[in-house]
């Protein structure tokens, strides 16, 4: 036996996971050094979806660029749109009417649910639970229909304008929204029953890709991933922007920091978002939907940074204005870009299978990483 082990030669090898791979959620590329199926080293390679959005902003007026923002994170378009207009409003010191703020919250939370449903579905498909995957996507379809009803676009809703929102809610929106929310609750219970208690699913996700609370802070992870690692940090609660201080909702926190915590965190957050939407619809005030904004938007000279809680974490916009109609420089601080920084650290010692599960549970969006 000893003789065999001495003569047994093993070899490490490298494998390109991506950019064209079924489960890298776009064009993420990880170069894995493997020993058998165990990962020895992992490197992140990004940039395959770079569209130069930050540079494009410099050749467009402030209002024009608002229509480009949903393309940054195409799974949570409305929230990117929101983050941008709030930043310009902060620079120009515009006061947004209350009804507009409520509409923003309703659309933003719907978009957050849609984005979280993507994570739930894509985690399921990456673990080959194909039926649960379709359930998630069909639930998302109802929300996209609602978004289309209000904003005119399913994926790229340029609904938020500087000073308010584009249009008021159509008459049929509120009954439709109530129906979608009821369906969504059913669907979440379906997925919960089918996946969350499944022994195979638990063995794939529990204790896999664990991030300790300290490590999460160290690597600057934000959003649901941070909260799944035991830190109750949510901008909507800690530094309430818009009208979030008027709603009664909880910030769910889970301690484990593994894939399963990140997965169930999304289900918990969807339930909280539903609460917010229900309250916002019930207490929707009357009034104008946009502030008085000059026709040509010319912010004063200066710079501004503002951040909101997007679906994937803290989304920040940094704008430098030279007093002209176009931004001098615009930078997007995108949550996915920060979140993937920890991959090389936690991937070491994993199996390829666990790496896929971890990647799925992080909810990265390549549009946001490469911009």
């Amino acid at each position: 036996m000893a003789l065999m082990e001495e003569n047994f030669e093993t070899q490490e090898y490298k494998i390109n996971l991506g950019p064209a791979h079924p489960s890298t959620h776009g064009v993420f590329r990880a170069v894995l050094t493997l020993n058998g199926e165990e990962i020895i080293k992992s490197e992140n390679h990004i940039g395959y979806l770079h569209r130069g959005i930050e540079k494009l902003a410099e050749s467009r007026t402030y209002a024009q660029f608002a229509a480009l923002t949903p393309r940054i994170d195409y799974l949570a378009g409305a929230l990117n749109n929101w983050g941008y207009v709030v930043t310009v409003e902060k620079l120009m010191e515009i006061e947004v009417p209350e009804r507009a703020e409520y509409l923003r919250v309703i659309i933003g939370e719907l978009q957050r649910i849609a984005s979280h449903l993507i994570l739930i579905s894509s985690t399921c498909i990456d673990l080959n639970a194909t039926t649960a995957w379709m359930y998630g996507f069909s639930a998302r379809e109802g929300i996209l229909d609602l978004l289309e009803m209000v904003t005119g676009s399913r994926m790229m809703p340029a609904y938020y304008t500087i000073g308010g929102v584009m249009d008021d809610l159509p008459l049929e929106f509120i009954p439709a929204a109530k129906k979608v929310i009821a369906d969504l609750n059913d669907r979440l219970n379906d997925v919960d029953g089918m996946i969350s208690g499944n022994e195979i699913f638990l063995s794939r996700t529990k204790g896999v890709g664990v991030i300790t609370p300290e490590k999460a802070i160290e690597f600057g992870i934000t959003g649901p991933n941070l909260r799944a690692a035991g830190n109750a940090y949510d901008l909507r609660k800690i530094a309430p922007y818009s009208v979030y201080d008027k709603f009664d909702f909880d910030v769910p926190v889970l301690k484990d920091g593994d894939c399963f915590a990140r997965f169930s965190m999304r289900i918990l957050e969807i339930r909280q978002s539903i609460r917010i939407i229900e309250q916002a619809i019930a207490s929707l005030p009357e009034g104008p939907i946009t502030a008085k904004v000059p026709k040509i938007i010319k912010p004063p000279i200066g710079e501004v940074y503002n951040q909101i809680e997007s679906a994937k974490g803290i989304l920040g916009y940094y704008i430098v204005s030279d007093g002209s109609t176009k931004p001098y420089r615009l930078h997007v601080h995108s949550p996915s870009f920060v979140n993937i920084g920890i991959f090389p650290e936690i991937a070491v010692g994993m199996y390829v299978q666990d790496f896929i599960a971890t990647l799925a549970s992080f909810d990265i969006c390549l549009g946001e990483i490469d911009r």
């Binding site: 079924p22 080959n128 194909t130 379709m134 199996y351």
Partner: protein
Amino acid sequence: MELINNIFISGANLIRNILHWIGFGDVFTNLIMSVVYFVAIAAVVTFNIIIILWIDRRVSSFFQERLGPNRVGPFGLLQSMVDAAKLIGKESIIPDAVDKVVYKAAPIFIFTVTMMLYALLPYGQGMSAVNINVGILCFAAISSTSTIAILMAGWGSNNKYSLIGGMRTVAQVISYEIPLCFSMLGVVMIAGTLNLNEIVLSQGKVWYVFLQPVAFVIFIISALAELNKSPFDMMEAEQEIVAGYHTEYTGMRFALFFMAEYANLFVLAGLGVTLFFGGWDGPFLPSWMWFMIKTYLMILFLEWVRWTLPRARVDKMMQFNWKVLIPISIANIFVTGIIIKLFHII
């Protein structure tokens, strides 16, 4: 009634008589008859693959609230035909870096193995192409050789994803073959024969699924592993290793792997029916019809499991096999043996 029941056997006898009438000797007649059997089996294989593919698509779409293929032919029945025609028309690319001989031989090899298994199944009363006394043993022996074909494909492709897929296959299929054979052993002990037709006949009073429920559960689990169906589809896990051992295959070569997989589904479902559900035995309808009905119900059950469960973890799967399935299956054999002995004493 009697005519429909024996339609295939009388057909075969008719051909045999015609050959004798023409004046062929016994040896030559047998030779031609084996070609006839082969063609019949090939027809069964192809026909079943097309039906199973259609069931796979329609059933999964029913589970997942989709429509599924419904444009080509009634209820989309001809969709699989169109796909097959498309795959035949595709260029079969052979990458430069592959080991050409192994690469080309693998798909032929894997399909041949499957065809051989079809010859052993009892499709109806007296309807086995090859009726031998060690049917189960032969079945286990032949089906385990498909591992080699998959390893050939994985190694010959000279692709890292293929290699991982091939290696996973060897580990998985060889391990799960043990509980699969042990679960068959319980049935063999009660029936007292290895002949598949005699096992069917011995189930006249009660199906073995009631006498051997533990063996049946073990059989289903290991059959899923043998078939590469979820939750045990590690070897071609598309989310992890792209397509596993057939990553580098295109056109008809890929189609052969694909068809072998679905053909295997029918074979193992048919074996399960033969061993545990009385095979072709049943009232009123012709025996071959009973076999088909039972087998397709079994396939539906396997599809149901497959579309519901996520994929297991490789290491957990192996632990489950060696630490749970094999001990239970051995215990099952012991308990069965003791009970049989007690019955004999009484």
